[in-house]
Amino acid sequence: MSHVLEIRQLTKKFGDFVAVDNMSLNVREGEIFGFLGANGAGKSTTINMIASLLRVTKGEITLLGKNIEKHSKFAKMNIGIVPQDIAIYEDMTAYENVRFFAGLYGLRGPLLRERTEEALEFVGLGDKATSFPKNFSGGMKRRLNIACAIAHRPKLIIMDEPTVGIDPHSRNYILNSVRKLNDMGCTIIYTSHYMEEVEEICTRIAIVDHGKVIAEGTKEQLKAIITDAKEIWIGVRADEPLNLEALKAIAGVNAVLQEENTIKIVSKTEINNLNQIIQQLIKDQVEIRSVEEQAPNLETVFLTLTGRNLRD
């Protein structure tokens, strides 16, 4: 399978701060490539360099075999970007929005009209073409955000958190759209804070931390990395964040995080430390409501490798 995108020894510095550190990865043609990283991991900086929004400090990015800095126009013509923030004009109708952005890619006349209508139909907004986005729900705006990125039929679509803050129905619609785009031959780079989405649709995943790719592969390959880890979920009554430092100090514990009323602990399989964990919580006067052990999933992998939650 040929590579649509190749990143070789990519570095981006902002002054002395290294946002992306000697990163290398490949995205193959026809895959939905999950790009995971907590906030500040270097994910957005990498995406911005791929989309030619930021200059490369060192290294090289090639799209369809061409260096994107030397062939900037070619690269831009073949990339569609769905930004994390909804990037549409509220004072233009849905049709005008898609038409305007598609027009920037050189589409004109009947072809422009056809592609605009096609993109709106694709995201289910065909009947809302003449409506203004200010009257749209969050999910509809997200779908319009996608339509603006696909009307020019790019080879590579970068979707940066396309499902943030929307209802389950719109989320399903978008996930199905991503699959359909992929079936139509588009290669997709997909980032999300929802691990289950990534697990559901991505064919291959890279985990980024501190500007570096720390793991890359299929879901199965990533899960295989952490065969020696287990995840313990402890339901607690917690009105505010708990002090988890004492738990982290227990032998065998790799990572601890609190998500509302659940404490998630990644621990080494061979060490039985559950009693110590519970004793520590009792000592800290934390009210325990449930304890369960989870099979390792992508989240366990992410926690183990980065020590952070994807939403951090």
Binding site: P83, I88, L104
Partner: protein, 376 residues
């Protein structure tokens, strides 16, 4: 083509903004009406030129010039202009600076040098207009003299008898600005300056809308985005300015003279200047700083440039402030052209507007090219 797309998008967005209509159309028209009515007494409709004093120095050797000049000063003297020949040792420029004379003219065989009072701009413009007509008439007579001395003599004597140069310039009672005439012009030029507001948010609005990322990711150069936006912003603001201009002309019957092409050219360059100033400010300042600078600049420039009342006489700091206001040179140029048919001030305004606009546009382009990622 992308430049056109971006320009059209800017125009469309502005036309859909109700607040822009209120601000750029309703506000100047209402102010025009209120100020034009309330301050009508300030504009002395029956004001004559009897308070104008012209000091001159004769350097001619040609007797024909002397004849023509004497006829000229006699004619304008009858219409209230006091003409005084400078005694030796008198510094004419200093006399004008001291406001003892409205203007100082050095008349020679080769032409007339005129130094007008900046403190009495309208008076000095009127004198300049008269002198221009005299100089034109005299040049005509000189040319005729080479061919037919009788025609030349008739031309010169007509100068003194018919006073045509006076009618052509400023003493015609219909050619004095009334309050509505004045405020029609002042509000139109003021609203032209207000294009700064729109321009200063041209790029930051893209950042606020989060659409900057899409524009930058598209295969469109920063230059094309910049040009499209500047064209769109200039066109839409010129549209508002021309709408106010036409409304004042046809509804309020304001006098805009007869050189409409020149008036529109001055207004176009003023809008271009305002757009470039707004852009420059958006690249120099951020957030609330942009709004504050815009508000302060437009209000001070409007006040000192004669938007709220005519600035004929000023001195010291206010004079400096007035001279720095784009509205000062634009209004002075337009008044000169409308009421004396003299385009000198208008050309000066055009040159100032274009030069400053170019400087700010170049600054904005360089700043934008240097910045990475989003525009501002």
């Amino acid at each position: 083509m992308n430049i056109w797309n971006i320009a059209v998008k800017e125009i469309k967005s502005s036309l859909r903004e109700k607040r822009t209509f209120m601000f750029m159309l309703a506000l100047p028209i209402i102010l025009m009406l209120i100020l034009g009515t309330a301050l009508s007494n300030v504009f002395d409709e029956t004001r004559t030129v009897d308070d104008m004093r012209l000091l001159y120095k004769s350097n001619w050797t040609n007797a024909q010039v002397s004849t023509g000049w004497n006829a000229f000063i006699e004619a304008i003297g009858k219409n209230g202009v006091e003409v005084v020949e400078a005694e030796s040792g008198i510094d004419g420029h200093e006399e004008v600076r001291a406001n003892r004379y409205t203007g100082y003219a050095v008349v020679g065989d080769e032409g007339i040098e005129f130094y007008g009072s900046s403190e009495n701009a309208i008076g000095s413009n009127i004198l300049a207009g008269m002198l221009t007509v005299f100089a034109d008439r005299y040049s005509l007579a000189s040319a005729a003299f080479q061919v037919d001395p009788e025609t030349a003599a008739a031309t010169l004597s007509a100068t003194g008898q018919n006073n045509e140069f006076i009618r052509e310039t400023t003493l015609n009672s219909n050619k004095k600005p009334g309050s509505i005439d004045y405020y029609a012009m002042a509000m139109t030029t003021m609203i032209g300056l207000y294009a700064m507001f729109n321009a200063s948010y041209l790029f930051s609005r893209e950042r606020t809308n989060k659409t900057a990322i899409r524009l930058m990711a598209a295969p469109v150069s920063k230059g094309a985005i910049f040009t499209g936006k500047v064209i769109g912003c200039t066109v839409i603001n010129l549209f508002f300015v021309l709408a106010v201009f036409l409304f004042s002309k046809f509804v309020f019957k304001a006098d805009w003279g007869s050189h409409y092409g020149m008036v529109i050219l001055v207004l176009l360059t003023e809008v271009l200047l305002a757009v470039s100033l707004g852009l420059g400010i958006s690249f120099l300042f951020k957030g609330e700083g942009v709004r504050a600078i815009n508000n302060i600049f437009t209000q001070v420039a409007s006040f000192a440039g004669g938007a709220y009342f005519p600035i004929d006489q000023s001195d010291g700091f206010f004079s400096l402030l007035s001279n720095l206001s784009p509205l000062h040179w634009v209004n002075t140029g337009l008044l000169q052209m409308i009421y004396t048919d003299n385009p000198t001030g208008a050309w000066f305004a055009i040159a100032m507007n274009v030069s400053i606009a170019m400087a700010f546009i170049i600054f904005s382009v360089i700043t934008m090219r240097r910045r990475e990622g989003a525009f501002v």
